[in-house]
Amino acid sequence: MTALRKPLSIVGTEPDAQTDENQRVLEAVLFAATEPLDEALLASRLPEGADLKEELKKLGDHYAARGVNLVRVAGKWALRTASDLGHRIARDTPPPKKLSRAAIETLAIVAYHQPVTRAEIEEIRGVTISRGTLDSLIEMGWVRLRGRRKVPGRPVTYGTTEQFLVHFGLDQVSDLPGLEELKGAGFLDDRLPAGFSVPMPNDVSTLREDEDPLEDGDPELDPDSTK
């Protein structure tokens, strides 16, 4: 296990050594995790009074030019391989399936218009969407059921997940590409009932005032909620 590990002489109290130790711990914690970690968790691993922001910045600088980078996704922190090296890494796993156009468009509509109902998605695309399209996006873990819109028929509202952000390397939904264009053209707030206009996609878990919570186990038992 230790072939190339040199013995360390850690001097706990010496200031510089302390700093390095913080770097080592952060690095190890981030390295061991497959999922992005939030700052509260990271802070809990450092001695009281440590400047987490500063430590993260330092770690980021250290990794910036290397083959692994420190990145911020979904408001959390993670180590990821540098994306310019993707083709050099080629894992054994089969390449991910290409999404169908219907799935890409549906995902985009959910991402940019969330919270959004199935009827609204259909209205934008101009075609009915097969149940399979939303289901598979949900199964992939990118789309989730949020709640129910407070309108007749109480249609389910959909939004994106943290995993969606992680997959596309986004820190938050407001980082979505082309968001400004859509917003500028007035496409982001015109589908909402009057009085509920929110000009930005919003994936925060708290329901909006025009949303009701899902009942227990509601999600799956609901083939025609939007009809």
Binding site: A33, G86, R91, P96, V127, S130, L182, A185
Partner: protein
Amino acid sequence: METSDFELPEAERASHEPQLVVDVIGFEGPLDLLLMLARTQKVDLAKISILALADQYLEFIARARDLRIEVAADYLVMAAWLAYLKSRLLLPEPAGPEEPSAADLAADLAARLQHLEAIRRAGAGLMTRDKLGTEFFARGMPEETDPLQPQQFTATIYDLLSAYAMQRQKKALSHHTVKQRVVWSLKEAREALERLVGVSQNWTRLDTFLVEYLVEPAMRTTVLASSFSASLEMVKEGHLELQQESAFAPLWLKRRPEPRPELQVVETKQ
């Protein structure tokens, strides 16, 4: 997005899911087709001529029908709508009560096309981002931080029971296949219209256009009769209002407004 995107073989575009709408022409719905046609005008979508677009679309559908290609009903509903819109744009006849102007309707349609286009670009932009597992990778070998406790999973008894019931039920009920309808009812056509061109809360008289595009010429009389009774039914159910200015004059229809969402909210709060 290039025109070639619209010429993907069926197998490729449908790789991930069963296509619900069997779409013989190879487009993802009428708006998709319209967007492609609009691009041939080679102008900014904001400056598109809806009249020319309607002509192109109707021509396309007419050609498909001449070739005896079965055209999905959504396309025909859109054709009916465009034929109606075209007649309004060409002959500014005295509008029915409270009717939106033809220019407004055309502008709405242009806006929908721009929206779809913008969403497509956004979707394409999303897909060209560096993605986890393709361009960048997460830690491949998670380190067991506590070897005694690997990843824990949770599920509730509720999850278990609903998963079980749902599967059994799906299987048990799956034998009841619904026979495919030959002719769309007027109600279905109107629902498709709402999806395609938005909800019009105003008086319209496009039923003659719908009838023309939705059915074979030989069936027109009977379908006109049955769609008339269907609209009466919808009036009775409170979904629709009907108006006729004099005998044999065109019928005007209007969707009954649904209760406003704001009112709904107030109600639930009480």
